[in-house]
């Protein structure tokens, strides 16, 4: 009786020590797999927006991901529907389509078909229009817009400026 209650106590004491150790190890393991500070610090890219030709899709790179930049033609700007216009990004008076060039389905890079002014994703057949809106599933939403901040005719990708915040708040992008 005396012995068994002592063993019971020892068992509980060990359980407590082991429990603390297990939780601590799990935290350490979780954190070890987090992106490194150097990876996070390299997450900013500054673009000079004045260099892009009209109507031609250019791909830049940010955080290892392709960034689509399309300086819109006059025809595109004039024909924009209301929902297409919500995705419009204006830098120094020039209109752009800017988006992360990864399909919102599972992340392939959709190809731009200039003749149809559309993006086609080869992986599972998703499609997007020239403004980045989804036109054919399986992608659940339009192309995501990277966080950006406008400074004069420069754009800093990775920083959240007021224009981006507004788009995020109104649900235009994630």
């Amino acid at each position: 009786m005396h012995n068994s209650s002592r063993r019971g106590f020892m068992g509980k004491a060990f359980g407590a020590v082991a429990g603390v150790g297990a939780v601590g190890s799990l935290v350490a393991m979780k954190k070890t797999w987090d992106p490194l500070p150097s990876v996070k610090a390299a997450g900013f890219t500054t673009l000079d927006m004045s260099i892009y030709p009209e109507g031609k899709l250019i791909t830049e790179k940010w955080r290892g991901k392709p960034i689509f930049i399309l300086r819109k033609t006059k025809e595109m700007i004039d024909s924009q529907t209301e929902s297409q216009a919500t995705r419009d990004i204006v830098v120094a008076g020039i209109h752009y389509m800017i988006a992360i060039g990864l399909c919102t389905h599972l992340g392939c890079i959709p190809a731009y078909i200039p003749a149809e002014k559309e993006f086609h994703c080869a992986c599972h057949g998703g499609q997007f229009d020239w403004s980045g809106q989804v036109t054919k599933t399986p992608p659940p939403r339009g192309l995501d817009i990277p966080p950006f901040k406008i400074e004069g005719n420069k754009m800093i990708l990775g920083e959240v400026g007021p224009e981006f915040q507004a788009m995020k708040d109104s649900g235009v992008t994630l």
Binding site: K30, W33, D34, P35, L36, V39, G43, T59, K61, R63, G64, K65, P66, L102, H105, L106, G107, C108, I109, A111, A122, C123, H124, G125, T137, P138, P139, P140, L174
Partner: protein
């Protein structure tokens, strides 16, 4: 109390310390196997041998492979393939074995389904087998990342994105798995660790569990006969070897088993030497490039059926269907409501169900390889819906099955 005497032979010396004779009996000469089984029961041994081939070839690849995003591609495609003497052999053995192992796994699984070898005490065999299937899938996927070619990179991108769980937008989880915003160095090194250490270790543990689960129920037989193993073993040991329904695992059964293994190995090395191309995707001979998707992304052939279940639907429904396909096989012992553990040929509606499932999965596999357009999309969608319907129907068609 332990009592040791002067040994009369090496065997006696070992016997006193390790009970080798007893172990040999328990594991081999008095482990009883029914006589009425066919070559399909050799698949397990073939899997064990193929795993050994993967292990040995993997160890030799590991001596020159370099898990660095700038070096990995060349360490495989230049160093191992061109500089290292016989490096090509290890790579081709490894690649062919990784592909063929899944063919044998599927045969092994469907054999189990056909003969009802997942019920009446054999549930743990089935479950541990399914866990092996899942771990092998993870092993093959992580290995596919290592050469760091275009298919490695884009398969890594697409598969890790599945963990954002569609509408739940768990992008933080995806970045945590990758250790970066996209697959990069952290991703390659951690998948390298998984591939060469943690997952093989888990596989070995699971193989042990799989074998242990066989111990008490023993293997099934091709007539669905319930054998009293103790009585039959006694008959055998008492001298009536011909009248007994069982035989020794070693050497009796092993000699049959190794015959099939021998034929398999001839086929296997024929593939390694003359026909390895199917195991090496041409797209993966381009180095990884995060700014260019290959025009058509598809997984290795053994993942195509589940990929095709994901593909025709919108993302959330697709992910649910995919998740369903991943776990549903595990539940087979409980979804099959019939008490009959006999071959499907004697089970009426279940027989039809079995062949429909097999054909459906072959159709899904074929459609998964084709571009998602036109008639192929439609056939894929029908086959995906068919897969789900078959599993939902299973409890109902087996519920009223007549006892045979």
């Amino acid at each position: 109390m332990a009592h040791f005497t002067k040994a009369t032979s090496v065997k006696d010396w070992l016997n006193q310390r390790l009970a080798v004779e007893k172990i040999e009996k328990v594991m081999a000469s008095e482990y009883w196997i029914p006589k009425n089984i066919n070559f399909l029961w050799a698949m397990g041994m073939i899997l064990a041998i193929t795993f050994a081939l993967l292990l040995v070839s993997g160890i030799f690849l590991l001596m020159y492979y370099n898990p660095d995003v700038n070096l990995a591609f060349d360490s495989v495609n230049y160093t191992i393939m061109r500089e290292v003497d016989f490096g090509w052999l290890w790579r081709h053995v490894h690649g062919v074995a990784a592909s063929v192992v899944f063919l044998v796994i599927y045969i092994h699984m469907f054999t189990g389904i056909y003969y009802g070898s997942y019920k009446k005490g054999r549930e743990m065999i089935w479950l541990s087998g399914m866990l092996l299937f899942v771990t092998f899938s993870a092993e093959a996927f992580s290995g596919y990342m290592l050469p760091w070619g275009q298919m490695s990179y884009w398969a890594g991108m697409v598969i890790t994105n599945i963990f954002s769980l569609g509408g739940l937008h768990m992008d933080g989880l995806v970045e945590w798995i990758r250790g970066d915003y996209v697959p990069a160095q952290a991703f390659l090194t951690r998948f390298f660790m998984l591939h060469v250490f943690l997952l093989p270790l888990a596989i070995m543990g699971l193989i042990g569990l799989h074998f242990a689960a066989l111990r008490i129920p023993h293997v099934n037989n091709q007539d669905g006969e319930e054998i009293d193993f103790d009585a039959e073993a006694k008959k055998y040991l008492d001298g009536d070897k011909a009248g007994s329904k069982v035989m020794r695992f070693a050497n009796d059964f092993m000699s049959k088993d190794m015959m099939v293994v021998g034929i398999y190995l001839i086929f296997f090395f024929y593939l390694v030497f003359y026909n390895y191309g199917f195991a090496m995707d041409p797209v993966n001979f381009d180095p990884a490039n995060g700014l260019k998707t290959p025009t058509h992304i598809y997984p290795e052939w053994y993942f195509l059926w589940s990929y095709e279940i994901l593909r025709p639907f919108s993302i959330n429904i697709g992910l649910m269907a995919f998740g369903f396909a991943q776990v549903i096989f595990m539940l087979l012992p409980w979804l099959d409501r019939s008490p009959n553990a006999v071959p499907a040929s004697r089970r009426g509606k279940f027989k039809i169900w079995f062949w429909l499932l097999l054909v459906d999965m072959i159709v899904l596999t074929a459609m998964g390889k084709l571009p998602p357009q036109g008639i192929f999309s439609t056939i894929g969608l029908v086959a995906a819906l068919g897969f789900i319907a078959l599993w939902i129907a299973l409890p109902f068609i087996t519920m009223n099955e007549k006892k045979v």
